[in-house]
């Protein structure tokens, strides 16, 4: 391809866009199978009376969605945010606080969760994105901690003790008090989220954001106000994660500042890296792997974090490109 005249196909593929289901045929099958299993297995488990797996899967899906949103800025925009869990917390509180005051409509909760998260992203992002590198990592972390302390100080809403959500968000078309319906809603949100990221990263806007990741000085010289584009991406990711938080809050029926502690942000980041940054389904893969390993280890020992931490370090030292990269390389050789 490199030496010959450009074929139409070569030009068409000029951006090397992350295609929705992966480039190789086998890769596509694996992706589709994986997403189908993620939908079907929990439902089968539920029908056979095993509700634990349905609950566990709902949690996985909510956090996958959060990881997908983080991947938009981390994987495609090169913004290493260590404060993404703040949006999960904000989203969850935007369900909990109105519910506490008696406003139970989901048509209020979900837009509010996305709106307030977007606003928080806009304000903090405006400061964070003036900085680079390590500064950015630490400042995102600091702002998330600020949100954490803010909710901790709100004694009206339980402060440290958290807040119980007695009734899930009321949506007049579906009833998410039903666990299966909530699971399906979360799954639909995740699928939509992945598709949205796919469209965004291949759009003009996405190309600009990816250009900023690759070489920001060049983007500026080309005439792009990189700050505005990166901030917009940051806001989109924040809003998406706010929605993930609202779903998670509904699922858990209990929310606390702990949901946005900085270790949560670290876990989210690790899910993305583990799965493979800058891939569409990688974050889902990473979230599944992370939560399943956590679940298995914690079944064996209360000290599960010890082997987990060791795994984390080993994976940083030895796995390049995350699980997606591993699978990709496996397919190439196999």
């Amino acid at each position: 391809m490199s030496e010959a005249a450009p074929s139409a196909a070569a030009i068409k593929e000029f951006t090397r866009p992350p295609s929705l289901l992966g480039k190789s045929v086998t890769g596509r099958y694996i992706t589709v199978a994986f997403m189908v299993l993620l939908l079907v297995l929990p439902l089968v488990a539920w029908f056979t009376g095993n509700t634990f797996y349905l609950d566990f899967s709902t949690r996985i899906i909510c956090l996958s969605f959060a990881a997908v949103s983080l991947n938009l800025i981390l994987g495609f925009g090169g913004m290493i945010s260590f404060g993404h869990a703040a949006f999960i917390g904000i989203g969850a509180y935007m369900v909990g606080i109105p519910a506490y005051h008696g406003y139970e409509s989901g048509w209020l909760h979900f837009p509010l969760a996305m709106g307030v998260s977007a606003l928080f992203a806009l304000v903090t992002g405006a400061v964070c994105l003036r900085t680079k590198g390590v500064y950015f990592i630490m400042i995102t972390m600091a702002f998330a901690q600020m949100a954490y302390y803010l909710f901790l100080s709100l004694e009206e809403y339980g402060g440290d003790d958290g807040l119980t959500i007695y009734n899930r968000s009321v949506l007049n078309i579906i009833d998410i008090e039903n666990k299966v319906v909530l699971f399906l809603l979360a799954y639909a949100a995740l699928a939509t989220g992945i598709y949205a990221v796919y469209r965004i990263v291949n759009s003009r806007f996405g190309m600009v954001v990816r250009g900023c990741q690759s070489n920001e000085a060049r983007m500026k010289a080309l005439g792009y106000n990189t700050y505005a584009y990166r901030l917009t991406a940051y806001v989109i990711a924040g809003a998406m994660c706010g929605l993930a938080g609202a779903l998670l809050g509904n699922f858990q029926s209990f929310i606390s500042p702990d949901m946005m502690g900085w270790t949560r942000s670290g876990e989210l980041m690790f899910m993305v890296i583990l799965g493979g940054t800058g891939t569409l389904f990688g974050p889902v893969l990473g979230a599944v792997a992370f939560l399943v390993i956590e679940e298995i280890l914690s079944a064996f020992t209360t000290y599960w974090a010890l082997p987990f931490g060791i795994l984390l370090i080993l994976s940083v030292l030895f796995i390049k490109g995350g699980l997606s990269g591993l699978i990709h390389r496996g397919l190439k050789h196999g």
Binding site: I80, Y135, Y149, S153, E156, M269, F270, I310
Partner: protein
């Protein structure tokens, strides 16, 4: 009011010196190795637990501190040579993830060894009392010791970096890596030594505060973020910036928590002030950080271009 202010001012200084001890280690490790160490707070915690155990073994806090410092240094050495040194060439993202793994390991290991409960450390008689610092103003003697110890270390670091051969190497390493190698100095050993020094400073901070707060699991995870705020405000890599910012943040945080709601009551209704006061004061240092960054994206004292 002015008495209370003086006491809170001293409390703010005390927080400031602790933050400085942490920020100094972060500054050294980042400034010289370009390494982001999230697990720095774990060394703070480990220092506190070592000190607790050694206090019970030796029967004396004052004897335990130097021993615990040595033990913390050894942990620093082991961690650096075992894992950290393989990460210097990696990007910051890998640093962040690997040291995040360390936090999990450290927290769980401490729980395995010392159990889930916090450990109180008894102080020697001489340090337990209160002293009268001004007529009618008394203040815990031990807190004054913390402030004095912190300032002493700050002076020591100033001397170390400005006046000694090691300091010269550190400054050279920060500005010119190849030059240090060209001088025939083993850069690996230098990096290990610097990392261990950072560990000792963090450990010292942990053992100084432990008699007041107890040694608890995860005690480093909150304060480390504040230490990050300090080095961001001060300018990452600048020791002078770290010192000034540490004092500033320590004072603002402490005074804000004590006096903000009273100050707000002047402007807004009392009950509103009582709700808003804690909320705003909990965010105060982050707002300060944002304000500083809006004016100086590199912090107050950005180090010279490397």
């Amino acid at each position: 009011m002015s008495t209370l202010f003086l006491i809170q001012f001293l409390n703010g200084l005390q927080l400031g010196v602790l933050l400085f001890l942490l920020a100094a280690g972060l500054t050294l490790v980042f400034g010289i190795m370009d390494f982001v160490n999230l697990a720095h707070g774990s060394l703070y915690m480990i220092g506190a637990f070592f000190c607790a155990t050694l206090t019970f073994w030796t029967g004396s806090f004052l004897l335990a501190v130097p021993l615990a410092l040595v033990a913390t240094a050894i942990v620093g050495l082991v961690v650096e040579t075992g894992v950290i040194r393989h990460l210097y060439q990696r990007d910051h993202l890998d640093h962040v993830l690997a040291t995040f793994g360390f936090i999990l390991i450290a927290d769980t290991s401490v729980q395995l060894i010392w159990g889930p409960e916090g450990i109180a450390i008894p102080l020697p008689e001489a340090l337990q009392g209160q002293v009268q610092i001004l007529p009618g103003v008394i203040f815990p003697a031990y807190r004054l010791v913390i402030i004095a110890a912190g300032l002493l270390v700050a002076f020591g670091l100033y001397w170390l970096i400005g006046r000694t051969r090691l300091g010269m190497l550190i400054r050279a390493g920060a500005s010119n890596r190849t030059m240090v190698s060209a001088l025939g100095i083993d850069i690996k050993t230098l990096f290990t030594a610097v990392f261990a020094l950072g560990a000792v400073l963090a450990g010292l901070a942990g053992m100084l505060i432990a008699p007041i707060t107890e040694a608890t699991i995860g005690m480093g995870n909150d304060i480390i973020i504040t230490a990050f705020v300090v080095i961001i405000v001060g300018g990452i890599g600048s020791m002078k910036g770290a010192f000034i910012a540490a004092m500033l943040i320590g004072l603002i945080d402490t005074l804000g928590r004590s006096f903000l709601d009273d100050m707000l009551k002047v402007f807004i209704p009392v009950n509103a002030a009582e709700t808003a006061g804690p909320a705003i004061s909990s965010m105060l240092i982050y707002i300060i950080m944002a304000a500083v960054l809006a004016l100086h994206p590199q912090g107050l004292f950005p180090p010279k271009v490397r």
